[in-house]
């Protein structure tokens, strides 16, 4: 959350919705603050997050929740945020790359790379580090296939990744006859997700937050904001004709976006296998799968589906918002009602934030 503050000024030129934060402010009144909050996605999400936390705390003190909504609970529920956040960052990269960029296959890649990881650790007895590296490579290769189809052969991204979603999820299921791999070495991986004790009396946090989520967030932030590749990606996503005239290799830039999405799916695969202590062939595709929530969070985080706009900070806070909202809903309802209201909340938040965004852009006369 802290780095969202730091990436605000550097990111300002790329996001159309962040323009007012740059404009010289003559006097700061209620109106200006309101406009800023409604037009700056990260600020809006922070406010929403604060509202959520205060609201849940009021419910908690009022005794409406079935368990305390305290810091310990919030920190424990971060384990749900880790895969969501990493995959949402994958969607950020792919959607920013433009021309209808989207990756429906992330869940299937998590399943397939996870099964590969399961075989390497659980069946073939590979040591952990080479296996993790190989799992990332598997993810990257799967992503590269998407990238080749989209960037070089010109398939619409929605179609290419729909097709590979089918293909990868099928291969994952067939690879071990629809059975999970949960041999002893795999079960031992669960120690990767042990809670870590924090100093200053803070409650413990799942280990994968520090070993996987934070490094990934940091690296993706650096990639998007501090490397020439990030600049090229925004340029290609904003206008690929202009990018071509600027002598950028549009296909190569876009290809790497899909490759990175596969790589991040590989990271998620390792986390998921460790979390469930089992390599499940349907880990990323069961039910609605992982792709839909990841895309939802990316869009909620302010990534424009048309490409070229999107910030790492927004996506990370959106992932936190959704995770803690879901965690709160689970406490507010008994039994399966909670998971049902999670669907409701996700749908409402997604459509409302998109409507708000369009409304604000139109009112400000942008388009």
């Amino acid at each position: 959350m802290s780095h969202s503050v730091t990436d605000k000024p550097t990111q300002a030129p790329t996001g159309a919705d962040s323009a007012p934060s740059q404009a010289p402010r003559r006097r700061i009144g209620v109106r200006e603050v309101l406009t800023f909050l409604l037009t700056d996605r990260v600020a809006l999400l922070v406010v929403l997050l604060a509202v959520l936390l205060v609201w849940m705390n009021i419910l908690d003190t009022g005794g409406y929740l079935i368990a305390p909504y305290d810091l310990a609970y919030l920190f424990t529920s971060l384990e749900m945020a880790v895969p969501l956040c990493i995959l949402a960052l994958a969607e950020l990269i792919v959607i920013v790359s433009g021309r209808g960029g989207i990756d429906l296959s992330v869940g299937a890649m998590v399943s397939l790379a996870g099964m590969a990881f399961g075989f390497m650790v659980g069946e073939w007895g590979w040591p952990l580090l080479p296996a993790v590296a190989a799992c990332l490579v598997v993810g990257a290769v799967l992503g590269a296939i998407n990238g080749f189809l989209v960037a070089y052969l010109g398939f619409p991204a929605l179609i290419a990744t729909l097709a590979t979603y089918y293909a990868y999820s099928s291969l994952a299921l067939v690879s071990n006859d629809n059975a999970p791999i949960s041999t002893q070495p795999i079960q031992d991986l669960n120690s990767l997700t042990d809670p870590v004790a924090l100093p200053f009396g803070l409650p413990s946090v799942p280990m994968q937050v520090f070993t996987f989520a934070l490094p990934t967030v940091l690296l993706v932030w650096l990639l998007m904001n501090r490397t020439s590749y990030g600049r090229k990606l925004y340029a290609v996503g904003t206008n690929d004709t202009a990018a071509r005239f600027a002598n950028l290799s549009v296909s190569w830039v876009r290809f790497r976006a899909y490759l990175l999405s596969g790589l991040l799916s590989g990271v998620t695969a390792v986390v998921t296998v460790a979390q469930y202590a089992s390599a499940r062939p349907d880990a990323g595709t069961v039910g609605n799968g992982m792709a839909l929530p990841a895309i939802t969070i990316a869009v909620l985080g302010g990534v424009a589906i048309a490409g070229g706009i999107g910030r790492v900070g927004g996506v990370v806070i959106a992932a936190l918002l959704v995770t803690w909202l879901n965690a709160g809903i689970l406490l507010a309802f008994i039994g399966s009602e909670g998971s049902q209201y999670q669907l409701f909340a996700l749908g409402v938040v997604l459509i409302a934030s998109a409507l708000l965004n369009t409304y604000m852009v139109r009112r400000r006369g942008g388009t």
Binding site: A163, Y166, A167, S170, T296, Q340, L343, G347, A354
Partner: protein
């Protein structure tokens, strides 16, 4: 297989026509692939070319084909509707509970299903058209919302003991006329109507104009918002009918009904040659695409391959269909 897919395309490109042809190259190619597949399968297995198997294929693809008809219209306008699986669940659970608890008759059940579907489709259409949000975001949202609504109505348990009021749409013997499932007759009737509408009616042609360039269409006098609301509502209506088919002979309606249906429908539409970018595609292609999906599913079962392989083949067929289309498009432009 490769020759059947490319040769009609090549011969079609030589004769330039201003008006659209009745059958596009992609559809001919698809029909060819289907014919080859059926021929091979009837030679390889002795169970494929039996009446019961063909009836089964037609019945199982009927809901996909039916929703695919509406989805074709939606995708032609450069939109998409990923909420169909959830809206099917809403319509199915409402109808199932009415059939069981209120004992309504078949016409009422159909009317309710169509009404529920229409309302849900209308919601999608209004938000897409007037909210000016990308259709995929809207329908991702309503996918969750409609699933929530259906689960609330399910009330945490599946609906059992649904009576056989709708068996004339089901997969049993009562659901067939002249040996063909009534559900498939319904698909062909609706398909023919929408095919004619999109091909000849001015407002039907407007759908292609919107998909080609919505701004240009608006300047040319097309009522873009109304057309958009209409196609999403149409899809909702067809989802309602598909829900009746999936209830069919009654029995059990499970809470996860319709999960993942949207991807199957989109796969059928895309294999049928409809461009996801909008502006191109026909209902006929979608019906052929749905048949291909059904054939592949049946083939994998009959050949006793693991059923999970079905998805792999569907994925490969999507890539082939769209790949061939891309090549044709490139040739057309370079000529």
């Amino acid at each position: 297989m490769a020759t059947t897919m490319t040769s009609p395309a090549r011969s079609g490109a030589k004769t330039r026509r201003v008006t659209a042809r009745a059958v596009e190259g992609q559809e001919l190619a698809l029909a060819g692939v289907l014919a080859v597949l059926w021929l091979v399968l009837s030679l390889v297995t002795d169970t494929f070319l039996t009446t019961s198997n063909l009836q089964n294929i037609l019945f199982t693809v009927a809901p996909i084909a039916l929703i695919g008809i509406g989805m074709t219209a939606v995708i032609v306008t450069a939109g998409i509707d990923v909420s169909v699986g959830s809206s099917l669940a809403v319509a199915a659970v409402i109808v199932a509970k009415l059939l069981r608890d209120a004992g309504v008759n078949a016409p009422t059940a159909l009317l309710v299903a169509v009404g529920v579907g229409a309302v849900l489709g209308l919601i999608n259409g209004v938000v897409v058209a007037y909210g000016r949000i990308h259709a995929i975001i809207v329908t991702f949202g309503t996918l969750n919302l409609f699933r929530f609504i259906s689960l609330r109505i399910f009330d945490s348990q599946q609906v059992t003991g649904v009576p056989d009021t709708l068996e004339f749409l089901g997969g049993g013997a009562a659901g067939r006329t002249l040996g063909v499932p009534n559900a498939w007759w319904l698909v062909m009737a609706v398909g023919a109507l929408v095919w004619l509408y999109m091909r000849y009616a001015p407002t039907g042609r407007h759908l292609y104009a919107i998909g080609g360039d919505a701004t240009a269409a608006r300047l040319a006098g097309v009522q873009v918002e109304r057309r958009l609301v209409a196609v999403y509502t149409l899809t909702g209506v067809l989802v309602g009918l598909a829900a009746c088919i999936s209830i069919g002979g009654g029995g059990l309606v499970q809470q996860n009904i319709g999960t993942g249906l949207e991807l199957q429908v989109i796969a059928a539409v895309v294999i049928g040659g409809t461009s996801i970018i909008g502006g191109r595609g026909t209902v006929l292609g979608t019906l052929l695409g749905a048949l291909l999906v059904g054939t592949v599913t049946s083939a994998v079962t009959l050949l006793q391959w693991p059923s999970e392989l079905t998805a792999l083949f569907i994925g490969i067929f999507i890539l082939i269909a769209v790949g061939v289309d891309l090549i044709r498009e490139r040739r057309r432009r370079s000529r």
